[in-house]
Amino acid sequence: MSSSHALRWLGFASVVLLAAPAQAGLADFVSPSDCEALSRPCVCEDLPMMDLFVRDQQKALEAWRATKDAILTPGGPMTQAEAVDDFHSRFEGDPRIVDQFESCPDFNAKVNDPKKIAGVAPGRGGAVLDACFCKTFCVDIVDATAAHERTHFAFGLVALTELMGVSGVCAAGLFDEGFCASLQAQLLADSELAAHTVGINALNDSINALNTTDPDTLEMACSWEPLPPPAPQPSPAPAPPPASFWQRVQLLTSRFVHGASPANPSRQ
């Protein structure tokens, strides 16, 4: 079969693209096996970050679940882009994870983006990861992230086999556009649910193993304190108080006597 017979499957590609919104710049990312080599075994002192990471993923999973439910409700997201926006309105990642990523000795803000730590790469084993992510997080977090991305790919592949027919008919504009767009949005949400589930389960298994046995002291379990909460964000400057009744009377009186101020035309 020659490539001239290829079907340009934008529908599937955009599922994968948005499911792992980090496809641009993946050329510099490394394969999961290379990432493992750059990483280090997880030990007791990694447990707080592992806990934090898995909790963050669980929050993201819940956010995607809510987004999926919203897709079919009136006024809910109708397209993949709207579904992504809906998800971001429900989820914000923990800044302590970003802090650890940015602690990478090679970190370069122009190259390493905390929002693009991994992605789907069909020609490279299914997943690729940012080398800085590999260097700053222990191997079980790395592996769980690779499993997440591979699941996106595998889910997309299965969705592709299921939906070639529907997508072909949608491509020709023969079906209701709203149906086709909603189908894509729902596929994206389903892919995210599947990928997060796999990543969370993998990391929970690692956490349980560490909690059962300290790899350095086999007869003991890990007992590390959780990470301190993130530093409070500086709150925005308070809005100026509304003009009091007396100030408004003064302004009106001034306008009556002197006319409107040219320096404040919006109040004319």
């Binding site: 290829a6 590609a13 086999t161 072909g168 209701d176 556009e177």
Partner: protein, 195 residues
């Protein structure tokens, strides 16, 4: 919709919702408008028409789709597409060649993206005497062998609409994986992901 669903299909349609055949790699003559949802032309794949059973290696050949809308139950939207042997990831500029197999209690999807390994993705399938079925939420997929040819019937619901799809497969004959595929394989089991 072109952003989401580009086309390289040989296409025919019925149901009066308009549209025309699309250009693109693999696109052939459009025969639409005959009211029967039939089509002709297109990629015939590399397989043969020899009969097979579930455990053979199959490739999708054509799909007939009908969309029902409760607001217009008497005028379902219909279309038939011939499916090419390869699909392309637009973002990665990589062709994917995909085959399917039903074996033991699994649907196995094989895919080659032109990398150093091919993929073998599995998901559970319920096997009965003459069928395999997969249930995914409100979506149902049923596989049967008709006259030695694998057919899949799908019902997929989205909101108050439902798409009914019948996919006809073509049996792949020859050594598998094909000689031009890599020898390494990446195995991914979706059982856990789809729970």
């Amino acid at each position: 919709m072109q952003r989401l669903f580009a086309a390289g299909f040989v296409l025919a349609f019925a149901g009066g919702c308009g549209g025309s055949g699309s250009a693109g790699p693999g696109a052939g003559a459009t025969t639409g408008g005959d009211g029967n949802g039939t089509s002709s032309g297109g990629d015939t794949g590399s397989g043969t028409t020899t009969p097979g059973d579930f455990s053979a290696i199959w490739q999708q050949k054509s799909a007939k789709v009908q969309l029902t809308d409760p607001s217009a139950p008497a005028a379902p939207q219909m279309g038939t597409v011939q499916l090419p042997g390869k699909v392309t990831y637009e973002e990665y500029a990589e062709d994917l060649e995909i085959f399917e197999q039903l074996k033991d209690d699994q649907l196995v999807v094989y895919a080659n993206a032109g990398g150093t390994a091919y993929y073998r993705v599995t998901r559970p399938a319920l096997k009965s005497k003459d069928t395999y079925s997969l249930i995914d939420g409100s979506n149902v997929m049923l596989f049967e062998i008709n006259a030695g040819v694998l057919e899949e019937t799908q019902i997929r619901t989205l909101g108050d609409k439902a798409a009914f799809t019948t996919i006809t497969f073509e049996k792949y004959s020859g050594d598998f994986p094909p000689a031009d595929w890599p020898t390494d394989v990446v195995e991914i089991d979706l059982t856990e992901a789809l729970k």
